[in-house]
């Protein structure tokens, strides 16, 4: 007897876990709260812009989501994993591109990518295609001789080597000239997976994202579609300090 599979009920696949899910998240340093009561859900594959002036809590929020800092209060899940229970599993799924280079100044770009690849278990990594993808060529000199734009591209190359499900970008356009900004914008636009961009270059960063939140003095003041981010910023801060219009 053969079973008729055409009528058999198909078990529904569970929806993919949100890239980031946080409830009542807060972090303090001593008696000062860097941010508090952040409720946020970033579905897999979505791009979120985190806006805010300097000191609004953007960087600390990204560091907490990246698991580099533990939250003082609240619950956090990264790609469905509780970092408090299994930090290594959460860390394997994310990458943070921060203000600091995160690479070794005494090594060349190629050496840095090879070292990073080996640590990720990619022993046979071919670095040439990755370097080409970010517009860098092989150079034997240490990266301390690189320009700000080249350093940023190398950081993005390291990100591509890891290929995370969740990418956290902290001020990715900082210290770049307009040409460098445009190049980095193109690279970010091509990133797979969920992306959270923290930037006060609102105009440029909002073009890369679907949703946005606006932080001020450690609290989320506004949340909505990225197309409305510029208006939300102007409503809170006025229009004079908008950046990144190129």
């Amino acid at each position: 007897m053969t079973a008729d599979t055409s009528e058999a009920p198909v078990a529904a696949l569970p929806p993919p876990a949100a890239a980031v899910s946080c409830v009542g998240l807060a972090r303090r340093f001593g008696r000062r709260w860097a941010f508090s009561r952040v409720d946020l859900e970033v579905p897999a594959g979505q791009r979120l812009l985190v806006m805010g002036a300097n000191g609004s809590g953007k960087t600390t929020l990204l560091k907490v989501i990246s698991t580099l800092l533990a939250p003082s209060l609240g619950q956090l899940r990264v790609c469905g994993i509780d970092p408090a229970e299994d930090p290594a599993a959460a860390r394997r799924r994310l990458h943070l591109l921060s203000h600091s280079l995160g690479l070794y100044e005494d090594l060349s770009g190629e050496d840095n990518l090879r070292v990073f690849g080996r640590l990720l278990g990619k022993d046979d990594l071919d670095v040439d295609p990755v370097l080409r993808q970010v517009g860098l060529e092989r150079r034997p000199d240490p990266i301390r001789a690189y320009s700000a734009g080249m350093r940023k591209r190398l950081q993005l190359a390291a990100l591509l080597v890891k290929g995370p499900e969740l990418t956290l970008l902290d001020e990715p356009f900082a210290a770049l000239d307009p040409l460098g900004c445009a190049a980095v914008e193109g690279l970010i636009a091509a990133l797979p997976g969920a992306v959270i961009v923290a930037s006060h270059q609102v105009v440029r960063a909002s073009r890369l994202c679907e949703r946005a939140i606006l932080m001020d003095q450690g609290a989320v003041r506004w949340m909505g579609p990225a197309e409305q981010a510029v208006e939300a910023w102007r409503a809170l801060h006025g229009g004079d300090d908008l950046q990144g219009g190129g």
Partner: protein, 233 residues
């Protein structure tokens, strides 16, 4: 059998990678190593000038001068070893890779120990020449004392370098914390080296080697356990 991510197999896989990475960085910036060797040799010269032309005293204390020179130079090397990670933010990249803190500790401590052994090897010929102190016992034993002595400095030194890496006064704090801790290691290394240079008719080297080995086992275990807490803090 499938490898458990983050398990002991992963730690063992990562240790040689961290070791190779640190040695590669030191090779690429080898002018630092050259400066360190010059510093160690300058200290040896200063010791000989300070003691004067008393050949018997110089010979009797040659082992002490060798180890004091290595120890004082080691603080510069150890302070530098964590600077690569802290200044450029590479420690965050390693944490998120994720590299296990134990792998990071053992990789870095092995790299530091290897560099200290090399420094001892560079400093030994001038000690023999300057202080007229030839090695009378088998050279292999002196190599063993060097390896165990340098390992005894490297393990707590790497831990304290991590503890002080973010502090403004790290160059002062590192020796202040490290030197009292490694007195047994220094004592055993100096005594064993002196016996190997002057001759060991009573066979006392073995007991000093035993003390060095016990010190190394204790501190390589203890510091490996504590390192994760130190870098998390």
């Amino acid at each position: 059998m499938a490898r458990t991510p983050g398990g002991p197999a992963d730690v063992l896989r990562q240790i040689p990678m961290i070791l190779a990475k640190d040695l590669l960085i030191e090779w690429r910036a080898r002018s630092r190593a050259f400066a360190l060797a010059c510093f160690a040799l300058t200290l040896l010269l200063l010791f000989s000038f300070a003691v004067g032309a008393d050949a018997a005293t110089l010979r009797a204390h040659a082992g002490a001068y060798l180890w004091m020179s290595v120890l004082l130079s080691s603080t510069l090397l150890l302070a530098q070893s964590l600077q690569h990670e802290v200044e450029g933010g590479a420690l965050d990249t390693l944490t998120l890779a994720p590299v296990s803190p134990a792998a990071l500790f053992y990789g870095k401590a092995l790299a530091n120990a290897a560099q200290l052994v090399l420094l001892t090897a560079v400093a030994l010929p001038p000690v023999i020449a300057l202080f007229d102190a030839p090695v009378k016992e088998p050279l292999g034993l002196l190599v063993l004392v060097s390896v165990l002595g340098c390992a005894g400095v490297a393990a707590p030194g790497t831990l304290y370098a991590a503890l002080t890496a973010r502090l403004a006064s790290k160059q002062l704090l590192l020796p202040l914390l490290l030197f009292p801790l490694i007195v047994p290691c220094l004592l055993a290394s100096v005594k064993a080296t002196s016996l190997l240079m002057s001759g060991d008719p009573m066979g006392q080297v073995g007991s000093w080697l035993g003390l060095l080995l016990a010190f190394d086992v204790l501190y390589w275990s203890l510091c490996g356990l504590l390192f994760g807490r130190v870098i998390a803090a």
